[in-house]
C-alpha cells in the first residue's frame, strides 16, 4: 500500500502564551519527502508553529493550544502520546547553533546512546553516515575528538543537523537555521537540504525569502498568527493570490 502523501495534517490550531493569542486557527497539510518553507515577518507565529510539530512548546510555561496536530493520522497532543517518542521521530535544529560542549563524536552519538546503542563499530558508522549527510564529514573526519565548540558557526550548525539525523527521524524541523550564518555557510546548508529531502520531510522556517524560493517545494506565508496563503512555492512567488503575500515577497514590508 502506498503511504498517504500527507504526513502532517494540522487543523484549526490555536496557540496562546498566557493571554497572548499567537496562532489563530491555522489549517495546513504538509507533504511527505518535500521541503515546506514557512515565511513571514518577525513575531508572526511561524516559530511557534514549527515548535508545535514536535512538542517543543511543552517547556514554555503558560503554553496552551486547541485544535489538532495530526502526524501520520495521530494527534501528537493526545494524552496517550509520549512526547519523547514524537521528538525521536521528528528532529529539530534551532536558530542558534547549540552543540553540546563535548567532542564532535560525542555530540552525534548522544541521541543513539539514549536509544541504547553502545557498540563502538555501530556508533562509528552512525557518526560517519550522519556527517556525510550533513556535508561536514570531509572537514572534520580527522578531528572527531576535538571539541564541537572549536568549529565555526556554519560547521556547528551542520553538526547540529548531523546530530538530529543520527537518530534517523522521519521529519526534520529547521527553525531559521541560517539566520546566524554567513552566505557561504548558508549556501552549504541549503545544498544539504536539497540533498536530504529525498529521505526526509523537511519543514523550514526562514526570514530569507530567496532561501524559501530556492529550497522549498511548498511555501506558507504567516502574518499576525494567521496562515494567509499556502501553496506550491512556484505559485506563491510568481503568482500570489493574496495581496499581502505579494506585498511581503516583493519587499514592501517586513
Amino acid at each position: 500500500m502506498k503511504k498517504d502523501p500527507i504526513i502532517f495534517d494540522i487543523n484549526d490550531l490555536h496557540v496562546w502564551y498566557g493571554e497572548k493569542h499567537i496562532l489563530k486557527g491555522n489549517k495546513i497539510e504538509i507533504e511527505r519527502e518535500k521541503v515546506t518553507a514557512l515565511i513571514g515577518p518577525s513575531g508572526c507565529g511561524k516559530s511557534t508553529f514549527i515548535r508545535c510539530l514536535n512538542r517543543m512548546n511543552d517547556f514554555i510555561p503558560k503554553f496552551r493550544h486547541t485544535g489538532a496536530v495530526l502526524f501520520e493520522k495521530q494527534d501528537i497532543y493526545d494524552a496517550a502520546i509520549d512526547p519523547i517518542e514524537i521528538r525521536l521521530r521528528i528532529g529539530m535544529v534551532f536558530q542558534k547553533p547549540n552543540p553540546f560542549p563535548k567532542s564532535i563524536y560525542d555530540n552525534i552519538t548522544y541521541g543513539p546512546n539514549l536509544l541504547g546503542i553502545r557498540k563502538r563499530s555501530e556508533l562509528d558508522e552512525i557518526v560517519e553516515k550522519s556527517l556525510i549527510k550533513a556535508a561536514l564529514w570531509d572537514e572534520v573526519k580527522e578531528n572527531l575528538n576535538h571539541s564541537a565548540l572549536a568549529l565555526s558557526g556554519g560547521q556547528q550548525q551542520r553538526l547540529c543537523i548531523a546530530r538530529a539525523l543520527a537518530v534517523e527521524p522521519e521529519v526534520l524541523l529547521l527553525d531559521e537555521p541560517c539566520s546566524a550564518l554567513d552566505p557561504i555557510a548558508t549556501a552549504k546548508i541549503e545544498g544539504l537540504i536539497t540533498e536530504i529531502k529525498q529521505l526526509y520531510t523537511v519543514v523550514i522556517v526562514t526570514h530569507n525569502m530567496q532561501q524559501a524560493a530556492r529550497v522549498s517545494d511548498y511555501t506558507g506565508f504567516f502574518l499576525m498568527g494567521d496562515l494567509l496563503e499556502f501553496g506550491k512555492t512556484s505559485q506563491i512567488f510568481t503568482n500570489p493570490r493574496n495581496q499581502k503575500t505579494e506585498d511581503y515577497i516583493t519587499g514592501r514590508y517586513g
Binding site: 517543543m56 521528538r87 525521536l88 529539530m92 552543540p99 553540546f100 539514549l114
Partner: protein, 289 residues
Amino acid sequence: MAQTKNLTLQRQKWANRLFILCALAALLTALLALVILIGDIFVTGLPRLNLDFLTSYPSRKAHKAGILSALVGTLYMIGLTTLIAFPLGVGAAIHLEEFAKESRFGRIVEINIANLAGVPSIIYGLLGLQIFVRAFQFDRSLLSGAMTMALLILPIIIIASREALRAVPHSIREGSYALGASPWQTVYHQVLPIALPGMLTGTILALSRAIGEAAPLMMMGALTYIAFLPDGLFSPFTVLPIQIFNWVSRPQQDFSINAAAGIIVLLVMLISMNMIAILLRNKFQKRTV
C-alpha cells in the same frame, strides 16, 4: 560659554581624582587591618609551629600541647559534612531549578532558603543539640557535629548550585530534548556536567565557612580536651576553632602563643581550600569555552 565648559571640566577632573582617592583609602584601611592581624599572629605563632605541635595531643602544659586531635577532627568533620551536604544541596537545587513548577509554595521555599543562609550559626547549634544530640541520641559525636554543619551550609550550597544551573544556556536543554532525551537524561548528561564546576566552587566556599565555625559546635557541647583521635561516627571530637578558643581563654601567656600557631594552621587550610576552588573553576572553564 567656552569658559564655563572649561571650568566644569576642571571641576569634574578634581571630583574624579577625589573619588579615586577615597576608594583607595577604603581599600587600604581594610587591607591594613588584615595585615596587622595576620602579621601579629605570624610573629607570635610561627616560632611555636613545628612538627611536634602538629602531632601532639592537648596538654595542661602549654609547651607540650599540640593540635593533632583538633586537626584530624576538623578534617573528619569537613569530609563528613561534604558527604552529607553536597548531594542534598545539589539535589535540592536540581529539583528547584529544573523540575519544580512555578508555584506559591516554590516561591516560599525560595525565600526561606535565602533567609536560612543568613541565620546566625549559633542557632544551628541549638538545632543540632536538640535534634541530633538529644532526639536522635547521637550524643556529642562527630556525626552530630557534621550534620549540624551540613545544615548550616546547605542553604549556601543550594543557592550556589542553583546559580550554576541557571548559567547553563537554555539552548543546551532544547538541543537535548529535541533528540528525544527525557528531562532526567537532559539534566544528567548535559546540564550537570556544565554546572558541576560552579557547584563545586560554591560547595568549597561554603565548607570553608564551616571550617572556621566554633559557635554551633560549642552550643552542641563538643568537647575541648580530646587526647585521642576519633575512631568512628559516634566518637567524641574537637575541631581547630574550638581548640583555639580554648587556648585563648586560658590565663597563661604560653597558651595564647599556641592559639596563634593554631590560627596559622587554620588559615593555611582555608587558603588551600579556596585555592582548590579557584583551580577547579579555571580548569573547567578552559574545557567548556
